[in-house]
Amino acid sequence: MSNEHIVKYITKGMRYDGRALDEYRPVSIELNVSHCAEGSARVKIGETEVIAGVKLSLEKPYPDTPAQGNLMINAELTPMSSPQFETGPPGEQAIELSRVIDRGIRESKAIDLTKLCVKEGEKVWSVMVDIVTVNDEGNLFDAGALAAIAALKSAVFPHVTEEGSVDYNKKTDKHVPMNQSPIAITVIKVGDRLLLDPSPAEEAALDARLTIALNDASMLCAMQKGGDMPLTLEEIGAMVDLATKQSKELRKKLG
């Protein structure tokens, strides 16, 4: 399928898989998919599948935030999940993905990092979220962000021994302190049309892309524009409306 065909089709309001332009594929969330992680989730959007896992460890805080826990979000675009991805260190695509998801979670203050301080300036909990792609059928931004927040919501602290080291074989029932559940929705522009939940072929044909993270109160908490073409004010407004509406559907799934 050439980009030209995709664009021609979309301009008529049609998609190759028969969906409406604003139609999302079925979404499923499965929790606790890895007993090794402190929290984990598998998210499927249509045939797109990602797994996110949370590991917790006791570390030194960063010098500029001595009384706060550390948060790190990393995404791996595995060569298993698409013929487009290669082995080796993360490329710019994987880096952008992890940074966009990171900002949604960090800027919405989803995790109460102050509650992760064990001893100021010395010891805090470090929260590490890894998002791994299993099958890329498009829209990894939304799938990755949803998996990350679902995994975080399910994460529990491991047991800490009297000497102060972590015993990963024993989990407590204490959850990671969460304030918000940001949901990221990506809207793409192809020709003069706006679409939700793009397939890889649609992603390849896009003119512009806007990923919008919304908090529990549907407040915008992070955005990232991608793609080569600029957007008008009206287009941005319409994209935010589409994202806001769709975020409510995903929020229901998150429970």
């Binding site: 998919v33 890895s34 007993h35 090794c36 992680a37 402190e38 984990s40 045939e47 599948e49 797994i51 896992g53 949370v54 590991k55 460890s57 990393n74 791996e76 595995t78 060569p79 298993m80 999940s81 698409s82 013929p83 082995t87 260190p89 993360p90 590490m128 890894d130 791994v132 299993v134 099958n135 890329d136 059928e137 972590v166 990963y168 074989n169």
Partner: protein
């Protein structure tokens, strides 16, 4: 993994299994639609996904072989899949060695002469682990290669055997491997050839016990072999590209 120095008696298995029992196993073919072939294999809490891409052009060009296609495996633990702290992403000495051994274990059943200058890539990812990861990876990879429609002489089936103070056991788990210090003997077996294509051993085992242990390994490998075959049949006799789960 290193064994603890203190050797204690091990009168029965901590999870109640018999000495020759495998953990619960499950296999599914066609789990990754983007790949040319794919499979999942679960044994207890060890889960391996395998995806096959190719035969496809091999780059860099100097690696190409005009006589035959080559097989390239990549074993990778997801960062949250280890016991203990997060596993740093990217390859390590351990993962590189395992990747190389996997290729050697799988190659005897393949004939890549039809695909000169090409590569068949096998990517193995583990979302959760409890010992026996290379074996689960090989078992999944063999199914994924068959799913990709490659010409194969047979499947390869793999499991990890254990030995402790004269006691032989099948499919040791993480507790037995790391905490108890049972000798770990991962093997891969090709049933129709009646040959082993992976053999490693950590620990001390007398020769008689090794031969006994390998005889048992063949028998247990056949149980896994059946599940692999059933999972492949389930996909190709079914309607869609997602095979049914096969359990044993």
């Amino acid at each position: 993994m290193a064994a603890k120095a203190v050797k204690i008696d091990y009168p029965k298995r901590h999870d109640g299994r018999g000495w020759e029992d495998l953990r619960k196993i499950e296999a599914k073919v066609g789990i990754i639609p983007r790949a040319d072939g794919s499979a999942m294999f679960r044994i207890g809490h060890t889960v391996a996904y395998a995806a096959v891409y190719g035969p496809r052009d091999l780059h860099p060009k100097f690696m190409q072989n005009p006589e035959t296609g080559i097989l390239r495996c990549r074993y990778n633990m997801m960062p949250f899949s280890g016991h203990g702290e997060r596993v740093r992403p990217g390859s390590s000495r351990r993962s590189q060695e395992i990747s190389m051994l996997m290729s050697k274990a799988l190659l005897p059943v393949l004939d890549l002469k039809e695909y000169p200058n090409s590569v068949v890539d096998v990517f193995i990812e583990l979302p959760e682990t409890d010992a026996g990861t290379r074996c689960a990876g090989i078992t999944a990879a063999a199914m994924a290669l068959a799913d990709a429609g490659l010409l194969m002489k047979d499947l390869v089936t793999s499991l990890s055997m254990g030995h402790y103070n004269g006691r032989i056991m099948a499919d040791i788990d993480g507790h037995e491997d790391c905490d108890v210090g049972i000798s770990d003997i991962p093997i891969a077996y090709i049933p129709t050839m009646d040959k082993f294509s992976l053999l490693q051993l950590d620990g001390d085992v007398p020769k008689e016990d090794l031969l006994k242990l390998l005889t048992l390994a063949k028998k247990k490998a056949m149980d896994i072999y059946k599940v692999q075959q059933e999972a492949l049949k389930a996909k190709f006799s079914g309607d869609g590209h997602n095979g049914k789960k096969v359990k044993a």
